[in-house]
């Protein structure tokens, strides 16, 4: 079934080859250019003016970016941790149990994935506008983190569910047949087997939290910025080489997460070979 599709020949093949090359060029050329220009000694962001590290130095000295970066990391870590726990529990419940309201829950869990960012941002803005009034919550760290968890749970649970669905549920029965209690069967069999899924979900949640602009911008309070929102604000005021440098830092962070996810993905596929 997974054999290769009929091999195209001659001119067709060369055309397809050329096209694929172009697609990759399209994907990577802008990113590479951005990295190059981040080292350019020219106030104009798209013009090469010799090598410099000045913009990275400026990034290091700018307290605005530093604060925003630190906020992003904190929010990313907290929202990832919470959504991994909630999302994994939800995945286990949906994949292994039946209970009242299961279908409604399943649908509710899908919605944050397919709803456009802007709509979700509006929903949470209106919600926190009221809640902040009622409960006296200051908008900022708390509201942003709560919002990020709201969309991350769904992504985590989807990734973990896929992993659970691929796992033979007889394995848990086998563990219990071999004198494991319910908890021990989970601890020694289920958990290690779904761990790659949990890690994959965590990396996805982290990426989404570090990427988000729209929702964060809507639910944040005065003086509170995450790195993407801070950069977005800068871009709207006019591009500067500092943004190039900050962007490259964000790019490196993304790449780091991709590399990690590829590693867990590899672990995932090697384990599920049985």
């Amino acid at each position: 079934m997974s054999g290769t599709v009929a091999e195209p020949k001659g001119a067709t093949k060369r055309t397809l080859q050329g096209l694929s090359g172009l697609v990759y060029f399209f994907f990577y050329a802008p990113i590479i250019l951005l990295v190059i220009f981040s080292f350019s000694d020219n106030r104009n962001v798209g013009v090469w003016g010799g090598f410099t590290l000045d913009w990275y130095r400026e990034f290091g000295e700018s307290s605005g970016t530093q604060d925003a970066l630190w906020n992003s990391v904190q929010i990313g870590l907290v929202s990832t941790a919470v959504s991994v726990v909630l999302g994994t529990l939800a995945a286990l419940a949906l994949e292994r149990f039946t209970f009242r309201g299961k279908q409604v829950f399943d649908a509710l869990l899908y919605l944050p994935i397919i709803i456009p960012d802007v709509t979700m941002a509006v929903m949470l803005l209106l919600f926190f506008a009221q809640i902040a009034e009622w409960f006296g919550i200051t908008k900022g760290f708390a509201t942003i983190t709560l919002s990020h968890i709201a969309f991350s749970i769904s992504f985590v649970s989807i990734v973990v569910r896929a992993r659970l669905a691929g796992m033979d549920d007889k394995l848990e029965e086998a563990a219990m047949d071999l004198y494991a209690t319910r908890w021990m069967a989970f601890r020694h069999v289920t958990l290690p087997l779904i761990m790659p899924g949990i890690l994959g979900g965590a990396l996805l949640a982290m990426t989404l939290s570090l990427d988000d602009v729209v929702i964060t911008q809507f639910v944040t309070g005065p003086g509170w910025n995450t790195l993407p929102v801070f950069v977005f604000g800068l871009i709207r005021r006019g591009v500067t080489p500092l943004i190039n440098a900050v962007s490259v830092v964000m790019l490196v962070a993304s790449m780091g997460l991709v590399a990690l996810s590829l590693i867990t993905d590899r672990a995932r596929s090697s384990d599920s070979a049985t």
Binding site: D168, A174, A175, L178, D271, A273
Partner: protein, 359 residues
């Protein structure tokens, strides 16, 4: 633990029923499996055999009825509290553990000391002839080797009863035959009861001391392979176990059955006159003769050879009797008469060769 029945009965089911919503998977069955017995639960898929096994393992709870293991009621105990272990269909080996950790799992869960667990697991791995494979992952083993690991993983716990769910189903024919005899000798060596589920009647006949035939949640017959083959309790058992010809008829008296075409055949039964029955005639118990030969003992019917199939060690004739076709199997002996398509023949059998079965 004092009375005699609990001493000899490894597993005892009394009036055990399992319902899934409205579907009755197992319908009020009574079953006693003796200690040290190789016992098969046989039937087509969906007959309730696997559910029965899972209830003994504790993976399902009976809806009602009593389930005892060595005299102790276990009906409401979870699997980890029962002194039985299971070899799962497709083995269910833990893919993230090596062979040694798989085998030692049960001991670790019981809190056996690490060193002891390792040495006992090692011993068990040796018992199934997998010494040297301890560090391998299940994915690096062949199907037959995985099967042995599954066996070792269950046996290392010294279960009082070993349950096997279609243990040989995933293996190819040659390996299956090899494992059949190996399982049998292992069971004799250990002296523990093996209860295994299979849909393969040949496998059940070869391996078991006793067989329980199930269909649609009901227990149809329990007996030795010979009893079941020679004296099937009903039409389903006769048809399911081995090949047979079923000749429809009605009971005339205790020694005679009238076939649907009016032929009177000598056949013993205890049924009331007028009962609708079928005569079960195994193909190898009938023989062919040219018409007009004198028949001294038994019964015969006339027909015409419709097809001949050459099997090497035997010949299978399909004989047309006008009202039905009948299969006759002859050993391929050099001196035996050979018949051909269109030959007019008599099908002959001795009275004790047929059994009268009801629906």
């Amino acid at each position: 633990m004092s009375d005699v029945t609990t001493g000899s009965a490894a597993v005892e089911l009394r009036n055990v029923t399992k319902r899934f919503d409205e579907v009755v998977a197992v319908d009020a069955i009574d079953l006693t499996i003796a200690d040290g017995e190789f016992f098969a639960l046989l039937g087509p898929s969906g007959c309730g055999k696997t559910t029965t096994l899972r209830m003994i393992a504790g993976l399902e709870f009976p809806t009602e009825g009593s389930l005892k293991i060595f005299g102790d009621e276990v009906g409401t105990l979870p699997p980890n509290k029962r002194p039985v272990n299971t070899v799962f269909q497709n083995y269910a080996l833990f893919p993230h553990m090596n062979v040694l950790d798989n085998v030692a799992f049960g001991l670790k869960m019981q809190g056996v000391d690490k060193h002891e667990a390792r040495s006992r697991a090692q011993e068990s791995i040796g018992l199934v002839q997998l010494g040297g494979m301890e560090k391998r992952r299940p994915s690096q083993l062949s199907g037959g080797q995985q099967q042995r690991v599954a066996l070792a993983r269950a046996l290392v716990n010294e279960p009082k009863v070993l349950l096997l769910d279609e243990p040989l189903g995933a293996l190819d024919l040659k390996l299956r035959q090899e494992m059949q005899s190996e399982l049998k000798s292992l069971q004799q060596e250990l002296g523990v009861s093996f209860v295994f589920v299979t849909h393969d009647q040949e496998e059940a006949l070869t391996m078991s001391d006793r067989i329980a035939v199930m269909d649609k949640g009901e227990l149809l017959q329990v007996g030795s392979p010979e009893q079941i083959y020679e004296h099937p309790a009903n039409r389903f058992v006769a048809d399911f176990i081995g090949q047979t010809n079923l000749l429809e008829g009605t009971v005339a008296d205790h020694e005679t059955v009238v076939l649907s075409n009016g032929t009177r055949i000598a056949a013993h039964s205890d049924l009331a006159a007028g009962s609708a029955v079928a005569l079960s005639l195994r193909p190898e118990r009938a023989s062919l003769h040219s018409r007009g030969q004198d028949v001294t003992d038994g019964a015969n019917v006339d027909g015409v050879v419709a097809r001949v199939t050459y099997l090497g060690n035997a010949l299978v004739y399909i004989v047309n009797l006008d009202w039905m076709e009948i299969e006759v199997r002859d050993e391929n002996n050099p001196g035996a008469d050979r018949f051909h398509e269109g030959d007019e023949v008599s099908v002959l059998w001795s009275t004790e060769s047929v059994s009268v079965v009801t629906n």
